[in-house]
Amino acid sequence: MTEITAFTVKEALQALETGQVSSLELTKAYLERIQRLEPALHAFITLTPDAALAGAKAADERRAQLKKAGAALPPLLGLPLAVKDVLCVKDVRTTCGSKILENFKPPFNATSVQKLLNAGVVVLGKTNTDEFAMGSSTENSAYGVTHNPWDTERVPGGSSGGSAAAVAACFAPAALGTDTGGSVRQPASFCGVTGIKPTYGRVSRYGLIAYGSSLDSVGVLGRSAEDVETIFRLMAGFDPRDATSLDRPVDEPGCAGAADLKGLRVGVPKEYFIEGIQPEVEARVREAIQVLAAQGAQIVEISLPHTSYALPVYYLIAPAEASANLARYDGVRFGLREENNGVIDMFMKSRGKGFGPEVKRRIMLGTYALSAGYYDAYYGQAQKVRTLIKADFEEAFKSVDVVAAPIAPTTAFKIGGHGDDPLAMYLEDVFTLPANLAGVPGLAFPVGFDAQKLPVGMQLMGRPFEERTLFRAAHVYQQATDFHKQTPAI
């Protein structure tokens, strides 16, 4: 029998349903495993064992009551879950990986979290993240770096590195992440797990602490496409609290009953196979595309001509939005307040001490891009080019159903490997940024390993609101392969 902590969501729900395990046993098993292995990995910023155990116990009682009454059960009743520490969980410390929010306890739940709580999940804790989700390695957290379970000397990717590591290390069957420029997909790739960045507007951003508001999305990381889709579907939908969420019905699951990929046209963009990409990454991705072909998909070479502009466009738009989004951390109402000599001094000292260097760098970048005299040349121009990147995808989706591409140029790099070179770090996101700029969904899943047994991931990008197609393709792939079933030996 598999250890219960290695359960997929599907297996865990089945085990709970049949009474093979209780939510309390499952939650205890995770908490024990976390206690044992967390010192080596540091996937969490905050653990909430007492609330989790109480929640699990309540879930078990509820299950018994509802069963007795013959009533329907909430779909995820008693399922443990980890939540990235940029999503608000009521009365639980929510830091965003920043000192400035060291003691911040939100008085409300993020809508995504609330929906899953309504579905019955038990929150184990808040996972580590780059400060305000700004980073690709989780090294920018004010609470220490997370280690990759496949090689603890390496980063787990970022910014949802804590969530990816937690799923890979079997600290939770699934975890919530957020993706502004690749922050779900890149760590999923580095840690060998499956992760969705939904269409912009598909999942409410209410309670997601904003980084780049026009790019941010709430996603899920798990052990299979099927698991990720189950949770994704329960979070999706219009939220009256988020004016940018769209009123689109949630599709039937794409994984259910998918046997092959006949009729699916898969585009392979030449701009994503550039010089400098690690040869094993390219090889694994091309092999995976062949697997899709073997399942009946038609492979088409395509072009997304404005891909190379995604990096500069992203690093103008995201910091510009961030410079305003992070203005509220001024020490007046919540968070860190430094003793002061008047109000300006309080602003400067609180922000000076509360923010880390990468956050400060992006605030300055964004402030500059929006300044009088520079706006048109930077922010304004970036918005124009963004529409071209979006148009690339619209054009491509006239002839293909999904786009298959690598996620990151390399597998997980060594902690400190990018040193003090922010540009090298920014290049990590070069393949993931376009989906955020275009607002299209992207699904990452493992497609093999490099020579050092480090996971390689691939992403499928789809038309807006067609996550279902991505899940279907990844599910068929996962039926034909077992990369997603491999777990690191820790």
Partner: protein, 485 residues
């Protein structure tokens, strides 16, 4: 040099608090700024907590559209909210959500009436935004600190910006009064200046009368009353004129009006001007006002003061002063028109006379609003006088009793026996008995002392205890005297 060598160009920016029940981007109630305890009408959204998002209050948009239409503006089919970035402790998010490049309403005008006749003042734009909180600066035993109250943060505002088309204080006041009238008329705002529901800022420059180009302008803030506005503008006009007459240059700066010192004080100079780094608010999709929505708002608009004025003057022949007293409060107009509907046969002028004199006097003394009076009862009273059931002076007494007791005029007249005697036979005998009782006076009259007719009239009225219809008495007296000649 003569004073009239320079002329002023004045524009107004008016911040109007919209009369919505809830705030611009959250569901918090809009509360009274003075009586509500601090920070009791706040939520995570208007506190700017991490993770929150704004949602547009449609009611605020509709009020803004109404104001835009009343100001003859174009209503943008698509307008865009923008972030205005600056740090201040009363600004929770570190940016204010406003509209910048694409305002909701633009290119309008308002007609104002001045001693020089009607004038058209262009309205450049009217845009939606959210209010800030309020700081109170404290000093306790030498320790200074500030308290933040966020009750007001997020209250919807409409900023209405005019072109610098006004040249005199009279025009500025006419514009301000008319704007306030329109906004109150439409229920867009309470227009309560003491509570900050309408806040004025003026921009003012001066130039030689023969110069085409506008001069360097200053902005004057804190104009919290019409009086302050008048004083501040006169003060600045005088200052700038003096400067220019001396050959000096006006400096571009932002000033505040100091109520205490009756002068303007510098708030910031051009060099300190903020760079607000406006950019489109990514949390809000563009605001689309489609044609059905716009038509529905249009259809809900009442007849505007200008149309009322024209109708009252034309069809009804009311005088200008009376018309203004009517239209200055929408409730007055409603009452007046209810009266017209209840008594279509009455002359509107008669109703207005009773309303603006005796009724208003009583309301003033008793501190009551006009909507506490039943127009149906009121016109019954006016009709009773008009038809001669009671005379004018009795009518005033009955009105007061009617207002105080709520009884109908006819019940009061009945109970007190106040009916005028219009019965001809009764008056005939009254007159003849008075003539018989005063033979000396009758003789003098017949001998040519005609003024004695008035004295005799008074005697008849006294006999009748004031209840006789004076017109009937006069006619009968004359008839009987003529018969003696």
């Amino acid at each position: 040099m003569a004073n009239n060598q320079y002329k002023a160009d004045i524009g107004l920016e008016v911040h109007v608090e919209l009369a919505t029940r809830s705030k611009m981007f959250c569901s918090c109630a809009v509360v009274d700024p003075i009586s509500a305890p601090p920070n009791t009408a706040v939520c995570p959204v208007c506190c700017g907590m991490p993770g929150v998002l704004p949602v547009i209050n449609r009611n605020a948009v509709e009020l803004a559209i109404k104001a835009g239409l009343a100001l003859n503006c174009q209503i943008a089919e698509t307008s865009i909210f923008a972030r205005k970035n600056y740090f201040y402790p009363d600004l929770p998010k570190g940016y204010q959500i406003s509209q910048y490049e694409y305002p909701l309403a633009y290119d309008g005008f308002m007609l104002i009436r001045t001693s020089q006749g009607e004038k058209r003042i262009r309205v450049r734009r009217a845009h939606l935004e959210e209010d800030t909180g309020k700081l109170t600066h404290m000093n306790e035993n030498g320790e200074t600190y500030s308290l933040v109250n966020l009750n007001r943060a997020g209250v919807p505002l409409l900023e209405i910006v005019s072109e610098p088309d006004m040249h005199t204080v009279e025009e500025v006041l006419a514009y301000s009064h008319e704007l306030r009238l329109l906004l109150r008329w439409l229920g867009v705002s309470s227009g309560d200046m003491e509570k900050g529901s309408m806040r004025f800022e003026a921009n003012l420059s001066m130039r030689p009368v023969d110069c085409e180009e506008l001069g360097t302008r200053v902005e004057v803030k804190n104009l919290n009353s019409f009086r302050a506005m008048e004083l501040a503008i006169l003060y600045q006009m005088k200052m700038q004129e003096e400067t220019l007459s001396r050959g000096g240059k006006v400096e571009q700066q932002t000033l505040g009006w100091s109520e205490a010192n009756n002068k303007t004080v510098v708030q910031r100079s051009k060099e300190d001007a903020n760079d607000y780094r406006y950019f489109p608010e990514p949390d809000l999709p563009p605001l689309v006002v489609d044609s059905p929505w716009l038509q529905a708002v249009k259809a809900s608009m009442p007849e505007m003061p200008a149309a009322k004025r024209a109708r009252y003057a034309g069809e009804m022949g009311l005088n200008g002063e009376d018309i203004e007293r009517l239209v200055e409060e929408k409730e007055n107009v409603r009452f007046f028109e209810d009266c017209l509907a209840a008594a279509p046969a009455l002359n509107p002028k008669t109703i207005v006379n009773w309303m603006l004199t005796d009724l208003f006097a009583w309301l003033n003394i008793n501190g009551k609003a006009i909507d506490t009076v039943d127009p149906k009862l009121f016109v019954q009273l006016v009709e009773a006088v008009d038809e001669g059931v009671i005379n004018q002076s009795t009518g005033k007494e009955v009105l007061v009793e009617m207002l105080e007791s709520g009884k109908t005029p006819s019940a009061i007249i009945e109970a007190k026996g106040l009916h005028q005697i219009s019965d001809n036979s009764l008056i005939t005998s009254l007159v003849s008995s008075v003539l018989q009782a005063n033979p000396k006076e009758v003789q003098s009259y017949l001998a040519g002392k005609e003024t004695l007719a008035n004295w005799l009239f008074g005697q008849v009225m006294r006999e009748a205890q004031g209840k006789a219809n004076p017109q009937v008495v006069k006619t009968e007296l004359q008839r009987q005297l003529d018969a003696m000649k």
